[in-house]
């Protein structure tokens, strides 16, 4: 039932996304929340990221509380490969939190470089929504708007640096995939 609601949101995304630059519309925020949840299925973390078999997939959200709330609603009761899903609103970087996916809101893009360093050391998938070269700065996945639709770009080198493997299936639906490093952090 929740899936249906999610897809419904995705379908309604088109017209609402035109105001992206002025801050995310609720629909855009919902789509991105859904994508965040879905990415988990196409990503493989190193075994160390999940010390136990029931370690939940933790998704952290920085600078976008509303999205975090929506995401929390969305994942409630869902599992990925038998693991539960936890959503955290993150104010400061807590190295011990054991985050698997970290979304960086548009407002917090400035902190990206620090977070990249953290991500690389802790095997965290970094997802950003920046318009100005977030991938080259070290983000693995970056949301973009194309023709009013929420799409995403992927940087394989960034992912590799974090020790994360991205499914080729995910690559097949990406807006674009960077395979070579354009700039060293």
């Amino acid at each position: 039932m929740r899936g249906t609601v999610l897809l419904l949101l995705l379908a309604l995304l088109g017209p609402a996304a035109s105001h992206a630059h002025d801050g995310a519309t609720p629909l855009e925020r919902s789509v991105k929340a859904a994508f965040l949840y879905k990415f988990a299925s196409y990503v493989r973390w190193p075994p160390a990221s999940f010390p136990t078999s029931d370690t939940p997939v933790r998704i952290g959200v920085i600078g976008e509380d509303q999205l975090a709330d929506e995401l929390r609603d969305l994942v409630a009761g869902r599992t990925i490969e038998g693991r539960g899903i936890s959503v955290y609103k993150i104010e400061d970087i807590d190295p011990s939190a054991g985050i698997h996916i970290l979304f960086i809101g548009r407002e917090e893009t400035s902190r990206l470089d620090d977070l990249v360093r953290l991500a690389n050391s802790r095997s965290i998938l970094l997802v950003s929504e920046s318009e100005d070269g977030a991938l080259s700065r070290g983000s693995a996945i970056n949301f973009v708007l194309r023709e009013g639709r929420v799409r995403f770009e992927i940087s394989l080198p960034s992912a590799e640096r974090s020790g994360i493997e991205l499914s080729s299936r995910l690559l097949s639906v990406a807006q674009s995939v960077q395979t070579e490093t354009t700039r060293s952090p």
């Binding site: 899936g3 249906t4 897809l7 379908a11 990925i80 995403f152 097949s172 639906v173």
Partner: protein, 647 residues
């Protein structure tokens, strides 16, 4: 077709082979096709499901991240599967997400919304809806539409099955022909031979044996059966033939019996006629005597008539008796050496009056000198009498009869010829048959019993001679030829038998007549008294004995069947009288048996006569009687013409 099947094993065999082949092929084909089509369908469905799952798996991210373009690209990959005609992906909410149609094919309408999950056949197409799931979440539905070649395959299979069937049935036909050679040919041969045997009844036909199996056994058995039937038929035919032969013989015998019976019937009719004929003149004569008995001329004429008719009657009965004796083999000849002339004389004496009455000329020629025969003179005389009488009867007044005898070496030939009506050539062989009559009508002018010639021939044959007849034809007269053996060296010749009664040496005799027949005794007495003899009468035995004692007769005619005292006892009684010791005793009977004759001699009779008695028989006896009361009894063996019984 069905009627042909009823009559031909060949067709039945062919039908069996073909039906078996066809049924086996059909069942096999149905099974195989069913299995193959099922397998095909299962495999095709499995293939499509796999394809759909692959598509779903590949398109899950596109659905998840809402990327129709990526999904369309995935669908485009189906180009490598030419049998998949169309495909589509629907989102979880049932909207068309991406679609694919194979180029170069007719437009396939892609459903606007996903249908019932699973596969189904729509005409020539197989349609499949399959849900796309990622983890435990349903992302959408895959739609595939593919060629479904079941029908084509079925058609192909049917063509293959048809081809196989045609080939197989051809093989079956060939096999049935082979079977016909092996199985039906012997049966057909048996059938053909059976048909021929029935039609021609030729049991020598055989069926050629070609196999050693049950059919060979059948052929052997059939042949054995033919042999058996043939033998039986032959035996039956033999029996039939012998039966037919027997039937023919019996039929012949029956015909002969019928002919003899007919001849006998005719003879009886003739006999009655002949016996009746003399009775009318007899009655007339009696009438004359009754009316004009006082007139000597009339009386004489009447007596003559009665005498002639009586003689005719006696002759008839004598002939009959002789025939009977010959037929039963009882006739015995009393042969002695005799002379031809006396025999001829005797015959002429008997027949001359008849020949004269017919106004015929008689010419007799005998050989010079005596001709001796070893024969029964009386019987030979009888033969000549018969022939002469016959000649006279069949010759018209004014004709001529000749009796001509010739003697050559040891044979005597007597020709009795006439100028009468002759004999037709076809009748010559049968005139000697018993009871033969040339003219069979009762009203014929020439009466007779038809026994005369037959009797004559038998008598001649008993003498070792032959009697034959000749005639140049009807109206040409006829000739009868008697051929007899002659005795070469004659011994003692017996003087001729006294010829008839002459009455020259007449002496008055005392005569006793004993008979219970009043008419006979009175007429007989009248005749004897008319001759001047003294006659006494007795009507029974005792009266006769008393009369004999008183009257002392010189001659006594005693009936054997007398009342009170029979003839034999009477004779002994008479003979025991002193006065009658030499009396000539003559037995008079109606029977001619040998026994009677012996009894008569034993009883003391000197002679024996059978009724009716004629004066000619009696007169010679009277002359033999001894003189009154003197001299011994002259018991010589006298011989009389006619009357005396020689049996």
């Amino acid at each position: 077709m069905l009627s042909a099947l009823k009559h031909s094993i060949r067709h039945k065999l062919m039908l069996v082979v073909m039906a078996t082949t066809f049924a086996a092929l059909l069942i096999t084909a149905i099974g195989l096709v069913y299995y193959d089509l099922r397998t095909y369908q299962q495999a095709w469905v499995d293939d499509l499901v796999t394809q759909a799952d692959i598509l779903g798996l590949a398109s899950a991210p596109a659905l998840a991240f809402h990327d129709p373009k990526a999904a369309t690209q995935n669908l485009e990959l189906l180009k490598v599967r030419p049998k998949i005609l169309a495909a589509a992906i629907y989102s979880a909410d049932g909207r068309l997400f991406a679609s694919y149609e194979r180029e170069g094919t007719a437009s396939h309408s892609i459903p606007g919304a996903p249908g019932q999950h699973g596969h189904r056949v729509e005409g020539n197409h197989l349609v499949l809806f399959r849900s796309i799931a990622d983890a435990d979440e349903v992302l959408g539905t895959v739609y595939l539409k593919a060629h479904y070649e079941m029908f084509d395959r079925f058609i192909n299979y049917m063509m293959i099955v048809g081809g196989v069937m045609i080939v197989s049935l051809l093989i079956a036909i060939l096999m049935s022909y082979w079977l016909q050679a092996a199985v039906t040919k012997p049966i057909l041969q048996v059938s053909e031979v059976a048909h021929q045997v029935t039609a021609k009844r030729d049991f020598s036909l055989r069926v050629e044996k070609t196999t050693e199996d049950e059919l060979g056994y059948l052929v052997d058995t059939f042949n054995d059966m033919l042999t058996e039937v043939g033998q039986r038929t032959q035996a039956l035919e033999k029996t039939n033939q012998s039966l037919e032969k027997e039937m023919a013989i019996r039929h012949e015998a029956e015909m002969a019996l019928l002919a003899a019976d007919q001849r006998k019937d005719e003879f009886l009719a003739t006999l009655a006629h002949e016996l009746r004929n003399p009775l009318a003149p007899f009655r007339n004569a009696l009438e004359i005597l009754r009316i004009q008995g006082d007139d000597p001329r009339s009386s004489r004429m009447a007596r003559d008539i009665m005498e002639r008719q009586l003689r005719q009657l006696v002759r008839l009965v004598d002939d009959l008796l002789d025939v009977s004796r010959i037929t039963t083999g009882k006739l015995r000849l009393k042969k002695e050496t005799t002379e031809l002339r006396s025999i001829v004389q005797s015959a002429l004496d008997t027949t001359s009056s008849f020949i004269e009455s017919r106004k015929l000329d008689l010419d007799v020629t005998l050989p010079e000198g005596p001709v001796h025969l070893h024969a029964d003179a009386t019987r030979l005389a009888q033969v000549l009498v018969n022939l002469l009488h016959n000649a006279a009867k069949f010759t018209e007044a004014g004709g001529r009869i000749s009796l001509n005898a010739e003697c050559r070496e040891d044979r005597l030939t007597i020709y009795v010829s006439d100028t009468g009506i002759g004999i037709a050539p076809e009748m010559l062989p049968v005139i000697f048959d018993m009871f033969a009559q040339i003219d069979r009508s009762l009203e014929r002018p020439h009466a007779g019993l038809g026994v005369g010639l037959s009797l004559a021939r038998r008598l001649v044959e008993l003498h070792g001679g032959t009697l034959t007849a000749r005639s140049a034809g009807l109206g040409q007269g006829s000739q009868f030829i008697v051929d007899l053996p002659v005795v070469p060296s004659p011994g003692w010749i017996e003087p001729a038998v006294p010829a008839a009664a002459t009455g020259d040496a007449f002496e008055k005799r005392r005569i006793l007549l004993a008979d219970d027949n009043e008419d006979f005794i009175r007429t007989f007495a009248t005749i004897l008294r008319s001759m001047g003899h003294e006659v006494h009468l007795a009507h029974d035995g005792q009266e006769a004995l008393r009369e004999a004692e008183r009257f002392r007769p010189e001659v006594a005619f005693l009936d054997i069947g007398l009342p009170k005292l029979n003839g034999y006892d009477l004779a002994r009684g008479v003979r025991s009288l002193p006065a009658c010791r030499d009396t000539l005793l003559v037995a008079v009977t109606g029977w001619g048996q040998e026994n009677d004759r012996k009894l008569a001699v034993e009883a003391g009779f000197d002679h024996h006569l059978t009724k009716p008695i004629e004066p000619q028989q009696v007169l010679p006896l009277l002359s033999l009687a001894p003189r009154t009361g003197a001299g011994p009894n002259g018991n010589g063996p006298p011989s009389f013409p006619g009357g005396e019984d020689h049996v």
